[in-house]
């Protein structure tokens, strides 16, 4: 160590934190680059694109021009009954499907977690298995089970004179909900189950000594203690619902028109893209993103209100 080099104790504090900041920046850089490139850039591009309107003239046989007109696409989206209807449909879907799925997932997790449960590993795995089936494959499989021409379920029920119109106009949304629930219950169950595992044994032991029933322990201790996990899975499910696409898209071809090209907002945006109206597709995507953001934050605030006190 040469003369004049400050000893450790004399290094000014700012230099230490400066070095730390550099290290932090270095470690964060890969993430930042990917985040900027893969998330923020397309996001900004979509917002930017949505502010323009396609303009052609005459027969429209020359290249279209993009005219800056920030409100037209948004105005069009909010007055487009097809798009509004798709939003409403998905909202209804979420209001019903998410609670049902989370109730099922919680119930399953509690059952597997309960002391008397046997073959826990087996049940954990089997309930998680549907999640391992890729969404599109699962939808294809269900489309076969639902199809008016091939449904084995209806074939079995036929002797009883029953035919379930899985793809009928009134039922198709719930047939889709069934596929989503089938696919994701196990996934949510695993998260909730993991949270259950982290509850200290002494608390449960104490409750038991106090004479609490299994039901009481589940309702008054376990569920409140896995609340963060429940909120997390609920927010993920809300986001997932907004992105509903695979299942209805696959069922579309066999649905006999019950699922149209704008069944969900993302399908509507895709149809606009196919029709070469990129700016409008961008506008609908931005609207959807903002709505989901608002919804998630609202949900988060409401569910966290209790713990604020």
């Amino acid at each position: 160590m040469s003369v004049g080099t400050p000893t450790r104790s004399t290094i000014p504090k700012t230099r230490t934190s400066g070095r730390q900041a550099r290290t932090a920046a270095l470690l964060l850089a890969p993430f930042a680059v990917i985040f900027l490139g893969m998330y923020l850039a397309p996001l900004c591009f979509a917002v930017y694109r949505s502010l323009f309107v396609l303009k052609r003239d005459g027969l429209g046989l020359t290249a279209p021009t993009l005219v800056f007109d920030p409100f037209t696409n948004y105005l069009k989206a909010f007055t487009d009954p097809v798009f509004i209807e798709s939003l409403g449909r998905v909202l209804l879907f979420g209001v019903v499907q998410v609670p049902v799925m989370l109730a099922l997932a919680t119930g399953l997790a509690l059952l597997i977690d309960s002391r008397s449960a046997r073959a826990k590993g087996f049940f954990r795995l089997t309930s998680f298995l549907p999640y391992a089936v890729p969404g599109v494959i699962a939808a294809l499989m269900w489309s076969f089970l639902y199809s008016g021409t091939s449904s084995p379920i209806n074939a079995l029920l036929a002797p009883l004179g029953i035919e379930i119109p899985f793809l009928g106009q009134d039922m198709v949304l719930w047939s889709v909900a069934n596929i989503v629930t089938w696919g994701w219950t196990g996934y949510n169950m695993i998260i909730i189950y993991a949270a259950l595992q982290s509850i200290p044994g002494e608390i449960l032991e104490a409750a038991k000594i106090d004479g609490a029933s299994a039901w009481n322990i589940a309702w008054n201790i376990k569920i409140p203690m896995v609340r963060p996990a429940l909120i997390l899975t609920a927010v993920f499910s809300i986001i997932g619902t907004a992105q509903l696409y695979n299942e209805p898209k696959v069922l579309q071809s066999v649905s006999g028109g019950s699922i149209d090209s704008a069944f969900t907002p993302i399908m509507a945006a895709q149809a606009a893209t196919a029709a070469q109206n990129y700016p409008y597709a961008a506008a609908t995507s931005v609207i959807l993103a903002v709505l989901v953001g608002i919804l998630s934050i609202t949900f988060f605030k409401i569910t966290n209100r209790g713990s604020d006190a």
Binding site: G60, A63, Y278, I297
Partner: protein, 442 residues
Amino acid sequence: MKSLKRWGITTVGALAATLALTACGGASGAPVETGTPAPSSSEAAAPAELTFWGWAPGYADSVKAFNASQSDVVVKYEEIQPGSRGGYEKMLNAVQAGNAACLGQVGYETLTSFAAQGALEDVSQYANANQGEYVEFAWNSVKVGDKVFGAPVDTGPMAMYYNKELFEKHNIEVPATWDEYKTAAEKLKAANPKIKISSPYANYDYAGMSWQAGALWFGIEGDSWKVSVDSDENKKVAEYWQSLVDAGTISKAPMYDPAWFKGLGDGSIATLVGAVWQAGVIKGDAADGAGKWAVAPMPQWDAANPSVGNVGGSATAVLKGCETPEAAWKFANFLSTDADSYGNLIDKAALYPAAKALLDLPQLTKEDKYFSGQKIFDVFKEEALKVNTDWTWGPNMPLTTTKLDDGLNKGWAGNGKLVDALVEANTATVENMKSQGINVAD
């Protein structure tokens, strides 16, 4: 704690927004990097070089044959995804990015939409000299207004594929008119309620029915488009098929669905009114029907004035930015008219020539085992001459057919009326064109 929570809320909100956005961010038009850029323009004296994007089996051999036949132009073939499975997107994006190939395989139904995107190059100054070599309606398919955008390669004249065994078994004559077709449907149903005369037709397959009836969807009047998807002629066609749906003689199996192939194979779907290339589709995927099926002319509205529709067919289109349009035309014309190269295309891709001189190729007189030895191309040769030549495709077919399919699917399933599909598609199409500033005649 409080601030931590707020931070968490913001993160979740941002995350939600990001996730939802990125789901469509990819679809919202960021140009996709599309591989090899187009070759630079030819240097003086060196042969012109150009790239051709296509997917039909056999095209690669045609390119080799062309390169061997002369030394002025060198064509490089790159196989891409079929149009509807991403090929068209690649072309449009590449045109926007300025690095498209010189030539692309583009279906007739999509060609006008490409033109409307400004994605094609007018080559009429080179092409018009060859006009006489092509079947008239095919030539019209590569033309929008007085601009020519490429060379027609193949056509899809329609005929009726029918289960001959079924018709013979139930002693029913092959229908020559649509009235007789309806009668045949009822007789088959009476013989066995499970036998349906046909199955739902969507978008371009349905368009073939309108095409035959002279029920145009689009036309150009001066500087304006005329949209007539819901014209009286079109309503007549829709009402005819509606009557078959109402009578319970149309299968519920969607076209190209496994259930459809099963129906064609096991005799529960008795006919398919469709294009020449569908022979390949049936043979490939309804193998159970081998030896049972045959081909007859499509039923007529007016037997005295026969008319035939067309489904599909594609062009070698010159894409915007091509610096050697004359060389591009030279190759495109070769691909469509050279007898040796085309014979190979018939064998490999079951293409039916758009060039008049090729309609006598020996590959078109083969007996087909699947159709119990029938020379099916003989039928199509007759029918191709009757194809209505007035048909024009609109400037945004993806939009038109999406709206149409939404309604047609409901109609075929009995959840709506086919006629309503026409009205809705017409309204949406006109609205879309007007909102973008395209002239629409009332």
